[in-house]
Amino acid sequence: MSRTHAKLDLDPVTVRKARSLARKAGRPIVRLAQQHTTVSVERATLRLAGLSGADGEGTPWANRLLDAVRADVGLEHGAALPVWDALARGEAEDLVTLAQKASAGSVRFEVPEGVRARRARAASRRQVGAGIKQVDRRRAERDRLVKRHGDAPRQPWIYLIVATGDIYEDIPQAQQAAREGADVIAVIRSTGQSLLDFVPEGATREGFAGTYATQENFRLMRAALDESSKELGRYVRLTNYASGLCMPEIAALAGLERLDMMLNDSMYGILFRDINPVRTFVDQRFSRQVHARAGIIINTGEDNYLTTADAVEAAHTVTTSQLLNEYFAKEAGLEDWQLGLGHAFEIDPSVPESFRLELAHALLARELFPKAPLKWMPPTRHMTGDVFRGYLLDGFFNLVGAMTGQGILLVGMMTEAVVTPWLSDRDLALQNVRYVLDAAGGLREDFHPAPDGLIANRARQVLGETIDLLDKIADEGLLDAIADGTFGLMRRPADGGRGLEGVARKADDYYNPASEILEEAT
């Protein structure tokens, strides 16, 4: 990411303090994640070992197999020991056959001990290792293609969304968006997928307000954008969502199919989908380890807080969450260039000096995370249906993006809250972005806010409030803070929410070859 000269003159001691408080608040959560596993972590492991496909009713074999294992021996030992022990005992010659037999009830799983356990560990490690090798090959392939076709011509990268519900409709739309200048294409997921406890299978043509994330849909879209990259002479990136109940599996599929960015927030599922906090943090850690390995850039979801909480009052909760997301990301092995930390232009435009406040917040994020490709999200909450006013607001949003060196700019649509974007909305929106970047792309050079002016003071104030909040969180615990409604005004107790039944505390003999390999790397 491009270099920044400090414009806010943040006190380095304060910044260090903020990071150390984030570490203090996050460490117990990491320990909690290390002590537990989830059904989705185990299924992701099976998928990395090559298990794919689904039965006649569309239930994935990964779910079938894990459910059978769990019924026999529980979840607490992990899937690897009982599954590869069964394979070694000759119950089936491969994973799919084993899954088929298991769902017919003709396999009995056991937790092996001694030599049998050692054999199962080694065999599972070999097979899962081969899957992780495939992820490595995909990463190398991306590097090669970026070199061959060239990278996005400038920053911020222009990020556009397609969402028809039909992958075969999405493909031409995505290719057209790329032609019109998109550097990153995001395929919005079907509403509700985050609460499915399985990943649908195959190419899908129906979805509400989005398209299902499936391995085949990933493959089809990546192949289409590879064509576009070749045609346009620049590598066009693909984004999807590793969130919801299946985020570890979706992360694994993204790694296997060379997706380039994934939405992957440490708390979004808890706050906005009411998924159990423990389930989320365990799934989060595993999915981030996969993303780290796959060279995928994650996008965090702080912008969402500002859709429910006030963007001025809650500005420090965004910064707090960014610092926590950074800690969790680094702990899982992600590097700075992979941290698309989120924030948004959501201040009520009727607030006096709202533009300067936006500049202050955006600049604070830029300077706190100088090497991260920040993800800058457009206004949604104050888009009223007055598309003309909305177009102006999007222009100011773009200007903040240019002036504060944001890494990824999600293109705002003037028809936000009115319709899913029309072809013409997208075209007008891209003209808006291009105009601002062409007209003011270099303004950053000349932009030095007065050291005692509103912008610098506001940034310091938000950082100060962030420290106070982190202090409180570190003190009382992040889980309690979440339960109290600290983020996005959502109250989510640690023992509530969806998916808790899919969490188990690891037994002493728990083994997961994927975690083992992924953690060796970091």
């Binding site: 509700g192 509400f208 429910t308």
Partner: protein, 242 residues
């Protein structure tokens, strides 16, 4: 006496409107002619194509200005007017106390696959909307917000358990008319689960509903975009207290 209006550009009676749209053809003189013809067919005469821009090889975007000859008799327009008095939170609380001698129970949810809780939260969360506090702020209203992606059977069960006086459902996603399908499914389920006299008030809200469709969808009231918590509270009180 009826009031007849036509659009106003910069002079009374000029009838001027603006219109923009895309045609799936490449940009050419003929394409501009096609745009003009479409506008004329829509009642704009003269129609002036002021802007035409190619979007890729296959599409052209147009902006058209022109005069429409249609007239509207404002008095003959039918809308759902607010047919209940707007009360302050204090008045709402007092009316509930007087009429029910217990708290009014309101259950809220986004049903079906809709995950957009913005609408229901604006009405229910204490934070509220447009400067008005949400229903959680009202001392005499018990709010049970079930959040997003609640199934209709779950909603009915909770309504039974909580002895709900009113059920508020928000629907934002409108792809393939999901909001209409979900609403019909909900009203049918409540119709089956409750005898008519014990059925809670069914209220739906969302930006794309037609407020006049309540009867057709089997609900008591539809609230459109911009509805505030105070309006909803006042409506509920009006229905249960009268």
């Amino acid at each position: 006496m009826s009031q007849i209006v036509r659009p106003y550009g910069d002079t009374t009676g000029d009838g001027m409107v603006q219109l923009s749209f895309t045609l799936p053809i490449s940009h050419s003189k003929r394409a501009e002619g096609a745009a003009q013809q479409l506008a004329t067919k829509m009642g704009m005469d003269p129609a002036l194509v002021v802007h035409a821009k190619p979007m890729g090889p296959d599409f052209t975007f147009f902006v058209v200005y022109g005069r429409v000859n249609h007239l509207v008799d404002v008095d003959a327009v039918e809308v759902v007017e607010r047919d209940y008095p707007l009360l302050t939170p204090k008045e709402v609380n007092a009316s509930i106390k007087r009429a029910l001698r217990r708290r009014l129970v309101v259950i809220g949810a986004c049903i079906g696959t809709d995950a957009h809780t913005v609408g229901i939260d604006a009405i229910l969360n204490i934070k509220g909307f447009a400067g008005e506090k949400g229903l959680e702020y009202y001392r005499e209203i018990k709010v049970v917000n079930l959040g997003a992606q609640v199934s209709v059977p779950q909603l009915v069960d909770r309504a039974v358990d909580e002895r709900a006086d009113a059920v508020l459902v928000s629907q934002v996603v409108t792809q393939r008319d999901a909001h209409l399908l979900n609403t019909r499914e909900m009203s049918a389920a409540f119709g089956e689960a409750f005898p008519a006299e014990r059925k809670p008030l069914l209220v739906v809200g969302g930006p794309r509903f037609d407020e006049a469709m309540a009867g057709e969808l089997g609900v008591d009231r539809i609230f459109g975009r911009g509805t505030t918590p105070g309006e909803v509270a006042s409506y509920l009180v009006h229905k249960v207290a009268s």
